[in-house]
Amino acid sequence: MLAALSSIFLVAGCGTDDPAASGGGAAGAANCASGTFTVAGNSSMKKGIAAWIEAYQQRCTDVAVNFDGQGSGYGRTQFVQKHVPMASSLASLTGDQKVQAQQRCAPGAAVDLPMAIIPITLSYNLPGVDRLILTPSLIARIFDGKIKRWNDPQLVAVNPGVALPDKSITPVFFSADAGTSENLTRFLVKQAPADWPHKPSQSWPVSIGIGAAISTTIVQAVKNTDGALGYVDYPDAVDNKLSLAALDTGKGPVMISSESVAKVLTASTTSQDGQDITLDLAYGLHEAGAYPAIMAVYEITCTRGLPAAQARFVKSFLTLTSSDEGQRLLADARYIPLPPDLHNRVTTAVAQLAAG
């Protein structure tokens, strides 16, 4: 039955050139798919993917795209088990799962394509305190319970001229396993190993403070608890108007911006194997103007080997997401778009995906 469906789409014009297509610029979704498709992956990408889906569905009228945001691991598992043609994940395919994915995509290959960067903020709730500077070692000590009050001398020393109140610090962490916890723990291990004696893991290793189960309650816990300090994804933090701390890795305080994130990506190692692009993020970077507490979002799919309709969808969707317009939509949704170098690599890789 799948063969019949595929042949219908092939006959209907998969691969014909659309005269209105204008290359990698604005009209990236020239070859529209039709049908209903599901992408599964991390909930932190929900807003970004929603923006992409809206743009995609505006130009492709006969298609419906759903996003199942139950987690990066869930997305990867769904992809490997052939339930979805594309997964969004905060970690690239590794180990056994990579082998299974390659089998799934045979005769093509399974690829990770970075599409967006999500910085991790340190959001705090201190009425009257407009600026706050934190170093990685202070962050580690706060979350590990070693520093308990805001007016601790170690914090005051790093924040000259700021009147820190005598309140207790309430750390807010993710109860659920999350890629954000994993990336932040990697950052802390690289930057402050003496103060953070735990291994990087998706489940936050310390139970000091408030553990919140979903992103709504994490933001709520920070907003409603006086003296809270939580690590919140940048899009959520900005949307909810949380106060963000500046990060000082030894070369001066840095706030989150495209530039401070781009510096980290320049210093990170990009490995490319065919069309598979993976990043080894430079969490331990000590550079002026760089903000190394970031996460890379990968879209995982097959280069070839998907049923024709799905392949058409994946290629047209990723062409949109990696185009200038798609990246601009990301920035509007408060994500950090790919810096130019990485962007070029990704657009080239997307162009080489089979279209059906």
Binding site: Q70, G71, T77, D96, D177, S207, I210, A213, I214
Partner: protein, 345 residues
């Protein structure tokens, strides 16, 4: 088949002969000449009815068996890969190179939060049931009964959000008070020197208590309503006060029913997922201090870990689910047994 001799006529001196094997006993015409049920067609309908109801029951049993089989099938590979003791290990890292996971913490907090819920809910529920059945005026009691049932209609995620945003942040005063006056019970001691933030087993227990209140209350009402009216009025007639009447006649009769209702409420509390996940801050170390934040239950661990679990991780979560399945089944079974024995005796 024609009717045999009429049995019971004044002149019959012998009982009718037994029907030949394989045949139903002969239909006996009633004395007054009415025809009673028609035979032939009724026989057919009876068989169909019996088959359908039997099929429904077997279907339910099959579903239960299929669920159990699924749980065991998915859990076994993960349990085999476990390098730690499933029952005693507190940590949960099934996706590490050396999988180590165990339900010690989850099981402990599941039982702890459920026990707190039952201890808090049963007195209130029994009080509500007694009030509605014996003490309130008729109109008030109907309205109250309806309102209590409404508690059961609130979705559990709403309870979770309420517990997280309203209840837990406002428990600080209560926790400090309990620590000051009842800290000697160790269970209510609050050790950390920071302000209590109360995402604790106590907060989860309170939310669960509110959720199981309607179950215990409505079942207790049924039990109290069945107390023989004569006994109640006899006690009142002998000069007992309301309270003495309840203590002497209602509670002894209703004891088994209330126990079984409480056990059913306990079963509900054990299985509650979303509300507990949202109110309980995550922690894996066992502690007897119920007002200190942190804990994880069998149901909440599945919700929190499912999104990022790998293959062994998913199997480990199914094993936790199997554990919960067995416990809840046992509790419900005991509850029904107590109730059944009371009806018979």
């Amino acid at each position: 088949m024609t009717t045999s001799d009429v049995v019971g006529s004044p002149t019959a001196s012998q009982p009718a002969p037994p029907p030949p094997p394989g045949q139903r006993p002969a239909w006996v015409e009633p004395d007054d000449g009415s025809s009673g049920l028609a035979h032939g067609g009724g026989d057919q309908g009876d068989r169909v009815f019996r088959a359908l109801t039997a099929a429904a029951s077997v279907f339910v049993l099959l579903i239960m068996a299929a669920l159990a089989a699924f749980l065991v099938y998915r859990a076994v590979p993960a349990l085999a890969a476990n390098t730690a003791n499933f029952a005693t290990e507190q940590r949960w890292s099934p996706d590490a190179d050396q999988p180590r996971f165990g339900v010690a913490a989850a099981l402990y907090f599941t039982l702890l939060t459920s026990m707190i819920a039952v201890v808090l809910a049963v007195p209130v529920a029994v009080g509500v049931a007694l009030f509605i059945t014996y003490l309130a005026p008729r109109r008030v009691s109907e309205g109250m009964g309806y309102l209590v049932e409404l508690l059961a209609a609130v979705p559990s995620i709403v309870y979770g959000l309420w517990g997280f945003t309203v209840l837990a942040p406002n428990l600080a005063g209560l926790v400090s008070w309990l620590d000051r006056w009842f800290g000697w019970t160790i269970v209510l001691r609050y050790r950390p020197d920071n302000e209590p933030n109360s995402y604790s087993p106590l907060a989860a227990g309170i939310v669960l208590a509110i959720m199981i209140l309607p179950i215990i209350s409505s079942l207790s009402r049924e039990v109290f309503r069945r107390v023989p009216r004569e006994q109640v009025e006899a006690a009142l007639g002998l000069g007992a006060t309301r309270w003495e009447m309840i203590w002497m006649t209602v509670l002894p009769v209703g004891r088994a029913g209330v126990t079984s209702a409480s056990l059913l409420g306990l079963g509900r509390a054990l299985a509650e997922t979303l509300a507990v996940t949202m109110v309980l801050s995550t922690a894996y170390n066992l502690t007897v201090h119920i007002t200190e934040s942190g804990g994880v239950t069998l149901a909440s661990i599945i919700v929190l870990k499912y999104g990022e679990a790998g293959e062994v991780g998913t199997g480990a979560l199914v094993a936790a689910g199997l554990c919960l399945f067995v416990i809840t089944l046992a509790v419900n079974f005991v509850a029904r047994m107590i109730l059944a024995r009371q009806k018979v005796g």
